[in-house]
Symmetry: C2
Amino acid sequence: MKLLEEKIIHDGKVFEGNILKVDSFVNHQIDVKFMNEIGKEFKRLFDGEEITKILTIEASGIGIACIVAQYFDVPVLFAKKTKSVNIAGDVYTSKVESFTHKRTYDIIVSKEFLHENDKVLIIDDFLAQGSALCGLIKLIKDAKAEVVGAGIVIEKAYQEGGQLVRDMGVRVESLARIKSMGVDGSIEFIN
Amino acid sequence: MKLLEEKIIHDGKVFEGNILKVDSFVNHQIDVKFMNEIGKEFKRLFDGEEITKILTIEASGIGIACIVAQYFDVPVLFAKKTKSVNIAGDVYTSKVESFTHKRTYDIIVSKEFLHENDKVLIIDDFLAQGSALCGLIKLIKDAKAEVVGAGIVIEKAYQEGGQLVRDMGVRVESLARIKSMGVDGSIEFIN
């Protein structure tokens, strides 16, 4: 998505340690008008697919998912992060490793909101190592629901997550795929 | 807002310890179509006010704020929760006490995204003791920006937060104001 690539180059900031900050329009401040363009693009990509629910993960994913959901006319369900699962058996859980924050946490969704007949589109801001995405896929599979695909805003395509999930047979559509980036601010995309 | 009161009565669940769960359309699953009705209502209430930014707090607030922001055509900024502030002096911070989770945490917003000339509408899902709302107001005041008001989805009007914030001279508009609720599921509203 050309518009997104331009925005990442213009507003994104690259830091030491493989960090891309897009705080001005995705992860802290949210450019809601721009997110509508993201929503339209995901709708174009997944048009014709039967989708009953959008699944994302707190926190940054929620805003994007809500805007995107308007184009599919379905509710959003967001997985919650918890430090330890001590809730009764009424939730699906999986483990997610955060490489940025160097810790592992559990994510949960209530069984009440994810059913066998759900056809789920996952929406998230970033895909890098793929741990969060694999965790979300596990939740859907545990519920015996169908994974329609994953719509990702920014994929760090030089990391293994995208390949890993595509190799699982899951359709992944990333709107910007970063090939490489440098602390001088240079960012190259895969077309 | 009659529609919201009906939805709370229909879908909300009251638990021991003054807990109202609206997980089916606000706090876990988000009914995006319904949130658009919420957005229209806040637009009606704050119409004519100059607003440059919507401020909320992660996580549940983000989805609501993004949908509402579309009616005001402004970006959303969400305060992040952190356990301890060890970030450089480029953020505004305040302390928030969570009565539900019985802990205190810091919230931060980057100075980059909150400026002296901003006119800020706060949007949040719940108002009870008012700690989160007071924390958000402090962030705005620290930035020397203007607090236009606070749009709250559900106010527990029998708790002191609403009065506390209104006494500070801040305009608070709550779409449903709960007068009392019981574990039998009964919920009374203030009209």
